[in-house]
C-alpha cells in the first residue's frame, strides 16, 4: 500500500509536466513527454543524440570513469581508515589534514585537475576520487572504532595475533559501516562524474551529453539524459542495499 502511495506523486508530476508542456507549447522550454520517451526506449540509437554517441555509449563512459575513481578512493580510504581507527598516532598524523581538505567541494578541484592531468579521463577520475574518498574514509574510521572492545579482547585471549585481530575481528566487525561508506561514496561519485563532464573538456559521458544537447537545443535529450542519470544512481544504490541486507543483517539485530 505504501509502495503504491509513493507512486501517486510521480504520476501527478508527469501529468503536470505534460499539461504545462502542452500549454507552453515550446519545446525549447519544456518538451512534451512523447518527445522524451523515444530517446529513452531507443537507448542504443544515435538518431537523437546528434552524433555524440548513443545514450548507452555515454552512460558506459560515465560508469567506467566512476568505477575507476571509486575503486581508487576505496583502495586508499579503507586501509587508511582502518589505520586511523585503530591507532591514535596514525589518526593524529592525518586528521588535521583531512579535516582541512574535506570541506573543499570536489568541483573546486576541477581547475587544478585540468592543470595537472589535462583534458581526459585522469582529471575526471581525480574529481571522483576527491568526492568519494572522504565518506568512505570517515565511515571506515567510525566502523573500526565501533568494534566492541570485548570482541577484540576475546580474540586476544584466544591467541589472536595483531594481524588476526584485524582480519577476523576488526574488519568483519566494521564491515557494515564501511559498506555504508561505500554506498554514500558511490552516490557522491556518481554526482561528481556528471558534474565534471558538464564542465569544459570532456567529449563524452552523460554529463557531456546533456550539455551538448543543451547547445543543440534538444530539451528532450536533456531530460532523457537526466532520467538515465537518476535511474543508474538508483539502481546502484539498490544493489548496495541488497548486499547490505544479505551480508550485514546482523548489525541491527546485535544485542
Amino acid at each position: 500500500m505504501t509502495r503504491r502511495l509513493g507512486l501517486v506523486l510521480p504520476l501527478l508530476l508527469i501529468i503536470g509536466w505534460e499539461a504545462v508542456a502542452i500549454i507552453i507549447n515550446n519545446p525549447f522550454y519544456l518538451p512534451r513527454i512523447e518527445s522524451v520517451i523515444p530517446v529513452l526506449i531507443n537507448p542504443f540509437s544515435t538518431d537523437y543524440t546528434l552524433g555524440t554517441g548513443s545514450l548507452v555509449d555515454n552512460a558506459l563512459v560515465s560508469i567506467e570513469r566512476v568505477i575507476i575513481g571509486f575503486f581508487i578512493a576505496a583502495a586508499v580510504a579503507i586501509p587508511l581508515g582502518i589505520g586511523m581507527g585503530r591507532s591514535s598516532r596514525i589518526n593524529d598524523f592525518f586528521d588535521t589534514t583531512i579535516e582541512m581538505l574535506r570541506p573543499v567541494p570536489p568541483l573546486a578541484w576541477v581547475p587544478l585537475a585540468l592543470a595537472w592531468f589535462k583534458l581526459g579521463i585522469a582529471s575526471i577520475v581525480f574529481i571522483i576520487f576527491i568526492g568519494s574518498v572522504f565518506p568512505i574514509l570517515l565511515n571506515t574510521i567510525d566502523g573500526v572504532r565501533s568494534v566492541k572492545k570485548t570482541w577484540i579482547e576475546v580474540g586476544t585471549t584466544l591467541g589472536a595475533s595483531e594481524r588476526q585481530v584485524l582480519s577476523k575481528i576488526v574488519v568483519p566487525g566494521a564491515a557494515p559501516t564501511i559498506w555504508t561508506g561505500l554506498r554514500v561514496g558511490f552516490g557522491i561519485a556518481w554526482m561528481c562524474v556528471v558534474a565534471a563532464e558538464i564542465l569544459p573538456g570532456p567529449t563524452s559521458g552523460l554529463g557531456y551529453l546533456i550539455m551538448y544537447a543543451y547547445n543543440q537545443g534538444q530539451m528532450n535529450v536533456i531530460i532523457a539524459g537526466m532520467i538515465t542519470i537518476g535511474l543508474i544512481g538508483l539502481a546502484v544504490d539498490q544493489l548496495f542495499k541488497i548486499v547490505e541486507s544479505r551480508l550485514f543483517s546482523w548489525r541491527g539485530l546485535d544485542r
Binding site: 570485548t150 570482541w151 579482547e153 576475546v154 589472536a160 539485530l253 544485542r255
Partner: protein
C-alpha cells in the same frame, strides 16, 4: 595446572594525575582443578584482577605464575569468559565456538569435529547454524563457555558470566557449570558479587575488601555438590560472608 599470584598490586593514574590503588598485594595459590570464587563488592578490583591474570592488563607490581612460570601475556593455558555478550554477531554458533581453533590454523573439517563435542557439552546441539541474535541470554553464555573450552585451556577465567541473566536461568547455568567442571576437570576462577553464587559453586571463596582490593579472608566451602541452598551449612557460610561484607561496606546487604 597451578596458578599462583604473589603480591599482585595495581595502581591506576587518572587524567588529573591522581593515583588510585585498585589492588593491593594480592597473594593466592590455586590448585589444579580447583573451583575458586572471587567475591567482593562493586569496584573492589575483582574484574581487574581477573584481567591481569588473563594478560589483558598488567600488574603494577607482583607476579603471576602458571606451574611456576611467570606469565604476563594471554596464554593458551587460560581462556576468559566475559560478563557481557562477547559473541561475534556475524558468526554462527559453530563459527563462534571454533574461532580459537581457526586462529591456530586448524582445518575447517577438523574444527567442526572439535566444536561438536563442546557444543553438545553446553547443550546447544542443533543450534550450530544459529546466529547469536537468535539465541537467549543463557544460550549465548553457553556459546561463550563452549568457545572458551574449545581451545582446551587448563584454567577458565569467568568474569560474572551469569550476572546479566534472570534468576532461574542463572541457577540452571550454575548447575551446568558444575557439571562441565566435573566433566572437563578444569581449574575455574570465577568472579562474582553474589554470595549465594559463590557458596553454591566454590571450593574456596576469596573475599576481597573494597578499594583497594586486598584478600580479606579465604573461606573453604565443604560439602558435596550440588549443594542444597537451604542446607544448614550453606546458610551458615552464607551468613558469615554477608556479615563480613556488610561490616566492610558499613551497610547491610
Amino acid at each position: 595446572m597451578t596458578l599462583s599470584l604473589r603480591e599482585v598490586s595495581r595502581v591506576f593514574t587518572t587524567e588529573k594525575g591522581e593515583t588510585i590503588e585498585a589492588l593491593s598485594r594480592i597473594s593466592l595459590e590455586i590448585r589444579d582443578q580447583e573451583f575458586i570464587c572471587i567475591l567482593g563488592p562493586s569496584g573492589c578490583g575483582k574484574t581487574t584482577l581477573l584481567r591481569i591474570i588473563a594478560g589483558l592488563e598488567s600488574a603494577t607490581s607482583g607476579t603471576i605464575s602458571l606451574n611456576g612460570m611467570a606469565t604476563t601475556e594471554p596464554s593458551h593455558l587460560m581462556a576468559m569468559i566475559f560478563q557481557e555478550y562477547s559473541l561475534y554477531p556475524w558468526r554462527n554458533v559453530q563459527d563462534n565456538v571454533t574461532l580459537g581453533l581457526e586462529l591456530r590454523g586448524m582445518r575447517k573439517a577438523e574444527r567442526a569435529e572439535n566444536a561438536k563435542k563442546y557444543i553438545e557439552l553446553v547443550g546447544l546441539k542443533g543450534f550450530e547454524r544459529s546466529f547469536p541474535h537468535e539465541l537467549s541470554g543463557g544460550m549465548r553464555q553457553r556459546v561463550a563457555v563452549a568457545r572458551a573450552l574449545a581451545i582446551d585451556p587448563s584454567i577458565l577465567l569467568m568474569d560474572e558470566p551469569f550476572g546479566a541473566l534472570d534468576a532461574q536461568t542463572r541457577n540452571r547455568m550454575q548447575h551446568e557449570l558444575l557439571h562441565i567442571w566435573q566433566k572437563t576437570k578444569k581449574t575455574i576462577l570465577f568472579v562474582t558479587h553474589s554470595v549465594d553464587e559463590a557458596v553454591f559453586l566454590a571450593d574456596r571463596i576469596v573475599v576481597l575488601t573494597p578499594r583497594p582490593g586486598t584478600v580479606r579472608e579465604i573461606v573453604t566451602v565443604p560439602g558435596e555438590r550440588p549443594r542444597e541452598r537451604t542446607g544448614e551449612q550453606f546458610v551458615h557460610i552464607r551468613r558469615h560472608l554477608l556479615d563480613m561484607i556488610s561490616e566492610e561496606s558499613g551497610t547491610v546487604q
